[in-house]
């Protein structure tokens, strides 16, 4: 793999990891709200 392509792959992976972290946060928040809707109803 050329150095240029390797850099692009690394950048792409880093961006994916950040979006994935955000998705995990959404999953956590979403599940908390689902539980809360059962508790508070």
């Amino acid at each position: 793999m050329t150095e240029k392509n390797s850099c692009a792959v690394e950048d792409s992976r880093a961006a994916d990891r950040k979006v994935r972290m955000q998705d995990y946060m959404v999953i956590g928040l979403g599940l908390v709200l689902l539980v809360l809707s059962k508790v508070m109803a």
């Binding site: 992976r13 880093a14 946060m25």
Partner: protein, 357 residues
């Protein structure tokens, strides 16, 4: 706005920034509360205006936010709290899962998934075919292709680094996508009535015709509750296809570089870009299908969903700068809008005459 959207999708350790975000979040909450109150006021006192303009809390939150941002402005102290629109709207989508059952998802079914798939990949192919007539780099064309095909911000952020796009090119794409969505948000409901679309048809139409997920949901909800639910299903159908569309775009960019394209590990690429929050949405759907939620609990979940969307849309309005739109330039906007309009027009014909909804 575009810069904010990128940093929002890419920002690290959001938890650590919560303290900084509180002042901005207070503004977001105030705008959302005002929008919610204003919907009731308009509905009670100006019923005709409410029915014609579909001024529900979603549109009002965006409008109030945009008015504040583009008139008095937002102090820099409040900026960190305005970055959470994607998290809030995605969370709303997860909770929205309690409104569906597996049967309702299956009912939308195979034909719709084929329609969505053809539309998404067709948009990319059309963009790459038309781009030869415009002056732009491969990386910008790639960002525009995936941005206008799947769901705007997420697709652009997923594509940009893979095609070595500059930050400005990603900002440009996001600004163009959001500008298109903004116009669609305020015109599609009127067009829907003009063409006599049912709520299901309208939801399906905006589900593929508008690009940004939040704007899809906002337009659907402006037309009616069922339209909002259908738009939500179509939006999920698109989101699932995001990694495949991005891979297709990257392969198109690298098609003249056989060495580079052979170096891509395709299954790893798709795994890396898969939007995992869909799992939580499916858990909500399955829980509802299994009868785990009573009517009262679904009502409570609906309240949480409404507030997640109201806060998300208020954040979107508060980060929408008209000057960003202006500085985005001409060629990309022209190409993006041509492709966006062709896609929306074809989707309208399919939804109106061919799709069993």
């Amino acid at each position: 706005m575009a810069q904010t959207q990128i940093s929002q999708a890419q920002s690290q350790s959001l938890g650590a920034q919560i303290a900084k975000a509180i002042p901005g979040l207070i503004l977001v909450v105030l705008v959302a509360i005002t929008a919610s109150w204003a919907e009731g006021y308009v509905k009670g006192n100006f019923k005709k205006v409410y029915e014609i303009a579909h001024l529900n809390y979603v549109l009002l939150a965006i409008i109030f936010g945009m008015v504040i941002r583009n008139t008095v402005g937002v102090p820099s102290l409040l900026e960190p709290g305005l970055k959470y629109s994607t998290i809030l709207t995605k969370t709303g989508i997860v909770v929205m899962g309690t409104k569906y059952t597996l049967a309702s998802l299956v009912k939308v079914g195979t034909v719709s998934m084929i329609f969505i798939t053809v539309t998404l990949f067709g948009t990319v192919a059309l963009m790459f075919w038309l781009r030869k007539r415009y002056e732009m780099t491969d990386s910008l064309a790639a960002c525009l292709a995936s941005g206008f095909s799947v769901c705007g911000v997420s697709a652009t952020v997923a594509t940009g680094p893979a095609v070595r796009a500059k930050n400005q090119e990603m900002c440009y794409t996001i600004a163009t996508v959001l500008l298109f969505g903004l116009l669609a948000l305020f015109t599609f409901p009127a067009l829907g009535h003009l063409f006599g679309l049912t709520e299901n048809q309208f939801g399906a139409w905006v589900g593929v015709g508008i690009i940004n997920s939040a704007q899809v949901l906002a337009a659907g909800m402006a037309y009616g509750e069922q339209a909002g639910l259908m738009a939500g299903i179509y939006n999920m159908g698109r989101v699932v296809l995001l990694p495949f569309v991005v891979l297709y775009v990257v392969m198109l960019v690298l098609k003249n570089d056989s060495k580079a394209s052979s170096e891509i590990n395709k299954s790893q690429f798709i795994m890396d870009k898969f939007p995992v929050f869909i799992v939580a949405f499916l858990i909500a759907v399955l829980a509802n299908t299994a009868g785990m939620f009573s009517k009262e609990e679904i009502k409570m979940a609906n309240t949480f969903m409404t507030w997640a969307f109201a806060l998300g849309f208020a954040s979107i309005g508060l980060t929408t700068k008209f000057s960003d739109m202006k500085s985005a330039g001409k060629d990309g906007i022209v190409l993006g809008f041509i492709v966006g309009f062709i896609k929306a027009a074809l989707a309208l014909v399919v939804v109106k005459f061919f799709l069993p909804l």
